[in-house]
Structures are given as C-alpha cells and as structure tokens.
C-alpha cells in the first residue's frame, strides 16, 4: 500500500472541508441538535422523577456515543459521495490507486472527521449540560473502540450499496443508523424487545456498548465478556464489509459499471 496515495484521498477531504463552510458545519450540526434535544429531555426527566436515576448519563451518554458511531460512518460515505457527485470515478479508479488504498483513505478521512466531531460533542455537552462523558472512566475507550469499528463497517457497507445500485441508492444509506437503533437498544435494555428483535440486537456490536453503559449506571462495571463480544462482532463486520466491497468493486469492473457509473446500471 502506498501512504502517498492514501494521503491523497485524505487531502481531498481537507480541501473540500476547507473550501466550503457547509461541509465543515455539517460534521457537527446534527450532533449539536441531538445533544440539545436530549439534554433538555434529561433535564426535564431529572426534575420530574428526582435524581435517584442518572437520566443524563443514560440518555445523553447514549446519544453522544451513538452519534459518534454514525459520524464515523458518514465520514466514510460522504467522501465516497463526493466522487459520485463530481463524477470523478474514472479519474480515481483509472489511476494507480489500489482499492485497498482507496478504502484506507476513506477510513482515514472518517477518523479525522469523527475526532473533530467527538471534540465538539464533549465540549458542547460539558459546557451546556455539565455532562462529562469521562464519567464512564476507562470503559469509555472500550466503548469508543467498538463504536468506531462498527462505524467503519457501516460506512464500507454503505458505499458498497451505492456502488452496486448506483447514485440513487444514496437515500438507502443515510437512514441505516436510524434503522438499526431500535435493535441496538440505545435507550433501553434488549430484554424489552420481542425475541426476534433481541436476536438481531445480539448480532450488532453497539448493543454491547449500550448494555455496558447500563451496567455502569446500575453500579457495575463494563464486563470483559461484554467488551469481548462487542469487539469480536465489530471485527467480523469489518471483514464482512471489506469482502462485500471488494466483491461489488470487482463486479463493477467486470460489467463496466465503474466506467459508466452515472448510468447506474450496464446490465
């Protein structure tokens, strides 16, 4: 793999963000909206139900962490969409860039973008709602690792969908996190779900993070077995996502879809 070529993909992201205020604010505007909404909901619930239960940690912490994972996914898909929107596929894929370098570049951009978003999240939640995510202690690093890996997997699956189905499939990708959140149990334990939903929930790594949050709130710790399952399933998703993407890319090269991408299909 060439570091220079991976860097090229990252630099493109920097130029685009630097060039348009819309792209810059888009990174954290929805996070701020989410934190504001859930911050006031938790303030209201704490005022009504008393302070015996930590609504702030429960809801605001969960929203913050789920938004982080969503942001990692969007960091990857957004840069791919930039190639779709500017019809840049031929220039990119007819260069010496390897497909692994392209994906690595997208992931690197996702990392940069999510770090920026994370800093804004932490600061905003701390300044406006006096909530410190660091209350989770050392478990926070484990939570972030699992959510980060899952965000990458979602991003790669998202770009595979758009590469396979064409630019119009973009609308399928944006709602993926919202579609998954009921199964993950962001705000409630999986046990409240019907069995079939619980089954799906157990297959999704973030559900182990939110189970961990509830364990901590109830005075326990984030158990190593919960961490292991969250981490292990995340790695499985990453491998699966990469296999899917490589398969979709190879099919696109075989059918000529890469060269005529705006046509959406060549078959």
């Amino acid at each position: 793999m060439s570091v220079k070529r991976i860097w090229a993909i990252f630099v493109r992201q920097l130029y685009l963000i630097r060039g348009t205020a819309t792209r810059f604010f888009q990174i954290f505007i929805w996070i701020i909206v989410d934190i504001t909404l859930w911050g006031f909901i938790t303030r209201y619930l704490t005022g009504t139900a008393g302070s015996e239960f930590s609504f702030t940690t429960m809801f605001l912490g969960a929203v913050l962490l789920w938004d982080f994972s969503t942001n990692v996914m969007q960091g990857i898909t957004m840069l791919f969409f930039e190639d779709v929107w500017s019809r840049n596929f031929l220039n990119i894929f007819a260069s010496p860039l390897k497909i692994s370098e392209y994906v690595a570049g997208l992931i690197l951009s996702g990392i940069g973008r999510s770090i920026l978003a994370l800093i804004v999240m932490f600061l905003f939640a701390a300044l406006v709602f006096s909530f410190s995510i660091f209350g989770f202690g050392a478990s926070l690093a484990a939570f972030l690792l699992i959510l980060f890996l899952f965000g990458i997997a979602l991003g790669v699956i998202g770009i595979s969908i758009v590469l396979r189905l064409g630019p119009a499939a973009e609308w399928l990708v944006w709602p993926i996190p919202a579609f998954l959140s009921p199964f993950i149990g962001v705000f409630y334990p999986l046990s409240v779900l019907p069995e079939w939903m619980q089954f799906i929930g157990h297959l999704l790594p973030p559900s182990y993070v939110f189970t961990g949050i509830r364990e901590i709130i109830s005075g326990g710790t984030f158990s190593s077995s919960t961490f292991f399952w969250g981490f292990f399933t995340s790695l499985v998703y990453i491998v699966l996502a990469c296999v899917i993407f490589v398969g979709v890319y190879r099919k696109a090269v075989r059918t000529g879809l890469i060269a005529r991408y705006s046509a959406e299909t060549v078959t």
Partner: protein
C-alpha cells in the same frame, strides 16, 4: 517523426463480451515510444471500451494488455503509474481548484517533487492565472487544458486521449495538438488518440487503426491509407468504414 522499436503498449487478442453482444472482438495492436496512434471508428465501434480496458476500469473477457511489459490484469497499479489519460467525458472535480486537483493527482501518481512539476504544468498549459480557480467555473477549453495537465503530470510513457479536442474552438484545438505532438516527440511516451476529426488525425497521428463493430478493419499511415483504398482523404475512408464495413472485411 522517427518511430523507435520499443512498444509501450501491447494489446493481444483483446475481447469484451456483454451477454450476447461483443463490444471488442480479438483486437491486437501496439503503440511504440514517440508514436501517436489514432484509434478511429464510428460511434459504438469499441474505442472507449478498448481504452477503458487499457485503463483497468473494465475487465476484458479474453486477451492481454501490457504497458511497458507489465500485465494490467496482474500488475494494475504498477502499469498505471506509467500511464495517464484525458477524456472529454471525465473532467476533474469542479469543486476543487486547478492546483488542488493537480496536487491530489500528483500524490496519486507518486510524482517526485510534485510542486515543481505543477508549476511547470501551469506554465506550459497557460493555467497560472487559474491556479486558485475552481475547475467547475472554467471554460471548456480551460478545463481541457487542466485535464491535459493532469494527464501529463507523471510524464506517462503511455498517454491515452479520448477525443481531447472535442468541444474546443479551432485555435485552442490546434494549440492542444501541438502540445501533444511535442510531448510525443520529446519524451519516451507513446500516445493512443481517439478523435472524430479526420483533419486532426491526419495532422497528428503516425499511424491509425480503424475499428468497426469491435474489430480492427484496417490500419496504416493516415496520409497514404486513403489512397490505398482509392479515397480522396481520411474522412472519405472513415465514411466507407462506417457505412460499408463488410465490404472492407471482404477486401
């Protein structure tokens, strides 16, 4: 123009089938160092399909493509480091400036001392005043010059040009042609050029390949080839290839 013996591109038995359609049918040809080869043919003849296969964005059904001895199917990245292209249907992203685009492609093509090279290209293609202008707001001629600057950024040994002068005024087209001729004459590069402008092809190309229904029907020197088929010029020969390919196949 002196044509050396060193092939930069070797295409052997190249075929592309789409279900029941054969877009390119057992095509074989070479492009040598310092040579400009014209790939001609009517719309749908298989020119762009051939170029896409050479660029590694379309997998051939059969056949092999070697760029300076490197098989595109097996050493795609290494082969493409020595290649570049410009096509009228593939402009650079309009939301980045000229210098940003060139910087990104300088990194992608692993260009040593890329800042110096970009300055040379801005000078050579008269783009200095547009260095901080987004490509999307440039005129067609200016965008073509940016595409050509990108196409030559890595001093490719194989340059693929798919209708590079389409939509340009005659004066700009002539200046672009001169630059490409100069490029082929000076360095080690060979050029594969597609165009529908037969005047341009006669002026620029050392050799032409006529493609029809995915097959090479005839090839030769664009200045003498029309005479061999009792045609006044290349345009008349082109029309015959487009309208009566079966007649040519039987000749």
């Amino acid at each position: 123009m002196t044509v050396s013996k060193k092939p930069v591109l070797e295409v052997r038995g190249l075929t592309k089938n789409y279900k029941s359609t054969t877009a390119v049918d057992s095509v074989s040809f070479e492009v040598r160092s310092n040579e400009i080869v014209g790939l001609l043919g009517p719309n749908g003849a298989g020119k762009t399909t051939t170029i896409n296969m050479i660029l590694g964005v379309l997998e051939p059904t059969h056949g092999s493509i070697r760029i300076e001895g490197r098989d595109v199917a097996l050493e795609r990245s290494e082969a493409l480091e020595r290649t570049n292209f410009a096509a009228v249907y593939s402009p650079l992203p309009g939301n980045l400036t000229v210098s940003q685009n060139l910087r990104i492609f300088g990194l992608l093509y692993n260009v040593p001392d890329s800042e110096k090279r970009i300055e040379q290209l801005l000078e050579e293609f008269e783009l200095k005043q547009f260095r901080n202008t987004r490509c999307g707001v440039l005129s067609s001629g200016e965008q073509t010059r940016v595409s050509l600057a990108k196409a030559t950024i890595n001093r490719p040994h194989l340059l693929l040009l798919d209708e590079p002068t389409a939509s340009l005024d005659p004066s700009t087209a002539q200046s672009i042609r001169e630059k490409i001729k100069e490029y082929a004459a000076q360095g080690e590069g060979g050029v594969l050029w597609t165009s529908h402008n037969m005047y341009e092809v006669t002026d620029v190309c050392d050799r032409v390949l006529f493609l029809s229904h995915g097959k090479i029907l005839l090839q030769g020197d664009p200045k003498t080839l029309p005479g061999e088929y009792k045609k006044k010029n290349l345009e008349e020969l082109f029309i015959m290839v487009a309208r009566e390919p079966l007649l040519l196949e039987s000749m």
